[in-house]
């Protein structure tokens, strides 16, 4: 009888202790698609990259499932955004030694918002995300020092693409008439875009979708919309469009017609397997849609002629 209890106790103790850190053979796990895509561009076939928060899913409120936690545990490297983007996964990521916040402590990047309340949507500024690409390359090289040369080469190519897209953004968004350079979206995801390319940006909800869109916010925005005679507002793929619709109705009640200029990819990319399902495609889509809806001029199919609509 005593032996039985000893066994049970031992078993309990063993199961309660944390799992051993996985060997460095495991896959790379990322939280959001924007990180996953860049990582894949860099490592190519050398490493498996698993992304947890899929297309159309909101990372601010995402709660990790048991399966997700297992994957994180067995990963050789975890890359996440940080700055509280993955709001509800904090404790899980904190507990993993090889988890790295690619968006935090970047050199030469001025965060919008104060310490502790920084806006996490860094990928909206192509130049910042270029720095993130560097950081990602750093981390995967640490993991696979032997592949350092290959990774470096791939990074260089990718940086070139980013640079080209950045130029395109300047042109496209720059072509928007001065008095229409206002971007209104469901939540405050686009501040970095606005700062980088000269647009005034307002979101109905705050920087996290967890916060409620208050009546006051909506009414203030309605007043703003009507005063500035803004023609379009934008919905987001991963956020409820109710508040945007409420905004439009509010403006209509005051006699000002606002239309939905398009759907933007804010916290998640487009459908997997499509062009918009890559980081470049996502930003291309966003830039082109915004520019077109606000009265700028853009090529029909965007940056590389690859947009599906």
């Amino acid at each position: 009888m005593k032996r039985f209890f000893a066994l049970v106790a031992a078993f309990a103790v063993v199961s309660c202790t944390q799992k051993e850190e996985a060997s460095t053979d495991g896959p790379i796990v990322t939280t959001v698609g924007m990180i996953a895509d860049v990582t894949r561009e860099i490592v190519g076939d050398k490493r498996a990259v698993i992304n947890i928060i899929g297309e159309g899913t909101d990372p601010h409120v995402y709660k990790a499932s048991k399966g997700d936690i297992d994957q994180i545990q067995s990963a050789s490297l975890v890359l996440f955004n940080g700055l509280l983007l993955e709001g509800k996964m904090g404790s899980i990521l904190d507990g993993k030694k090889s988890a790295h916040a690619v968006g935090e402590n970047l050199d030469g990047v001025e965060l919008i918002g104060g310490a502790g309340h920084a806006d996490p949507h860094l990928w909206m500024d192509l130049s910042i995300w270029s720095k993130v690409a560097d950081r990602i390359a750093e981390q995967v090289t640490k993991l696979d020092p032997d592949s350092s040369k290959i990774y470096q080469k791939r990074l260089t190519i990718y940086q070139q693409n980013l640079n080209d897209l950045h130029t395109y953004a300047q042109m496209a968004l720059g072509s928007i008439p001065v008095d229409q350079r206002v971007l209104i979206t469901a939540h405050d995801a686009f501040s970095y875009l606005g700062r980088a390319y000269g647009l005034e940006v307002r979101g109905i909800q705050g920087i996290s979708t967890e916060s409620e869109a208050g009546l006051k916010e909506i009414e203030n925005l309605v007043t703003y919309l009507v005063d500035k005679k803004i023609p379009s507002v934008f919905v987001e793929s991963s956020v409820s469009d109710k508040s945007v619709k409420a905004l439009i109705e509010g403006a209509a009640a005051q006699g000002h017609t606002v239309i939905i200029g398009g759907e933007l990819y804010s916290d998640a990319m487009g459908p997997v397997g499509t062009y918009e399902g890559t980081y470049l495609g996502m930003m291309d889509h966003n830039i082109t849609t915004i520019a077109r809806a606000l009265g700028g001029s853009t090529p029909e199919k965007g940056f590389q002629n690859k947009l599906s609509h």
Binding site: E55, G56, S65, L215, V222
Partner: protein, 438 residues
């Protein structure tokens, strides 16, 4: 700030108008229908219902997304909520019927199982690619601000129909709530009526999910009704009052939350309703704590006055042989010994009687009835003895017990009963002898 307050309270802007009107209407309907729920003593069943709506929301989202529709379409979500909500209620009834478990256990089981299932489904549903399930969790606590016209119209129609139906069958519902056995023998379909009532509650619950959230909707259903009960004993008034309290809670609560964006609308609404309930519980005219206390004190005063005057009169009777009785002064000690007085009570009553000009204090320290006091004492004593006589002759109570009973009951008699007694005992207008030794 003030301008914003006025703008909000008077619904100047479109968005505010939608939200506040919607919630006000919800409050009125919840007050009305919640009253029946309360009277039928099934308030907790409403709680089980609201918690059981959660899995339906998640499932509806998943199904609609799978069918390629907009996963967040409100009518679809509400339909899902309704289905699982009703399943929850059926679950409670089934458990009640087939096991020995009592109501509270049955409701607890259903409530927690369904709610847990709902949370689990929402967790799974967030992984469905292509559509964001963001906003589904808002049904738990409510998220009013982004109400659009289509939502409002849905709410308005549902509530109008519910209110109309409940008013149509108001007497049937009253009978059901008061005496369901009698209703059954009269051929009223008790089960159908219960289902109808549950249906009305479901409509209000499902429609209120958006504004107040499923956890708080039950408070919206119960609180105005219980608050109303403190003010009236009449059903019709209670229904009206409950509807008004519900509407005011909704209006105030939504307006306040519109002004302060950090306050969730659902919670403020419920707190407003609770505040009104608290006021009602303390001050409500029919059953409130304070009015009851006042009435009790008034009765004590009345009873005390009658004791004092009657004792005085009896002392006079005892000390005089001849009739008619002379109004003489009596020493305080006699009064004190005549019957039981609580500590300090006698002096208080004497003070009261002097204030009413019924008793005068003589220079000698003795007490004397005034002229009006004498008349009053005579009247009271006569009434008392009439009642004693009635109790003895009609109620077979041993004479020694009579005094106590008469004391308790007579103070509640009015003039009409006294006349009745006189007629019964065929007495003339004079004082009669006490049927037991004083």
């Amino acid at each position: 700030m003030l301008e914003t307050l006025i703008d909000t309270l008077f619904l100047k802007t479109h968005n505010t108008r939608l939200v506040v009107l919607g919630v006000t209407f919800l409050g009125a309907a919840a007050g009305l229908i919640g009253s029946f729920l309360l009277l039928r003593k099934q308030s907790l069943l409403g709680d089980a219902l609201s918690h059981a709506t959660l899995p339906g929301i998640g499932i509806a989202f998943a199904v609609m997304t799978a069918l390629g529709m907009n996963g967040r379409s409100l009518p679809g979500l509400l339909l899902g909520a309704t289905i699982t909500g009703l399943l929850g209620v059926l679950g409670v009834l089934a458990i009640r019927r087939t096991t020995k478990l009592k109501d509270d256990a049955a409701m607890g089981i259903v409530l927690s199982v369904f709610f847990g299932l709902g949370i689990a489904i929402l967790g799974m549903v967030q992984k469905i690619p292509g559509q964001s399930s963001a906003g589904l969790e808002s049904f738990i606590y409510g998220k009013t601000a982004s109400m659009i016209e289509a939502d409002f119209i849905l709410i308005a129609i549902t509530l109008t129909i519910s209110v109309f139906v409940s008013l149509l069958i108001i007497k049937e519902l009253t009978l059901l709530c008061f005496d369901s056995n009698f209703a059954s023998t009269e051929g009223w379909p008790v089960l159908v009526l219960d289902i109808l009532l549950m249906g009305l509650v479901t409509a209000v619950t499902v429609v209120g999910l958006q504004s107040v959230g499923l956890i708080l909707i039950i408070a919206f259903l119960i609180t105005p009704a219980t608050a109303a009960r403190f003010w009236t004993h009449q059903l019709r008034h209670m229904l009206w009052l409950a509807a008004i309290i519900g509407a005011v809670s909704g209006w105030l609560g939504a307006s306040i939350s519109a002004l302060y964006p950090n306050f969730p609308a659902g919670a403020i609404i419920v707190i407003t309703a609770a505040a009104i309930f608290l006021i009602s519980m303390i001050f409500g005219r029919a059953q409130g704590v304070f009015p009851r206390y006042l009435r009790h004190r008034q009765l004590q005063k009345k009873v005390g006055r009658q004791h004092l005057l009657r004792s005085t009169y009896e002392i006079l009777e005892n000390s005089q042989e001849s009739k008619p009785l002379k109004n003489l002064a009596i020493p305080l000690e006699l009064l004190r010994k005549h019957r039981y007085w609580a500590k300090g009570e006698l002096s208080k009553l004497i003070r009261q009687a002097r204030a009413e000009d019924h008793i005068e204090r003589q220079p000698s320290g003795e007490l004397r009835l005034s002229e009006s006091g004498f008349g009053e004492a005579s009247r009271i004593t006569r009434n008392h003895r009439l009642w004693e006589m009635y109790l003895i002759t009609h109620a077979d109570i041993a004479p020694s017990h009579v005094d106590r009973d008469a004391d308790m009951v007579e103070h509640l008699l009015g003039a009409e009963i006294v006349h009745q007694l006189e007629a019964e005992l065929e007495l003339s207008k004079s004082t009669i002898e006490s049927p037991h030794v004083i």
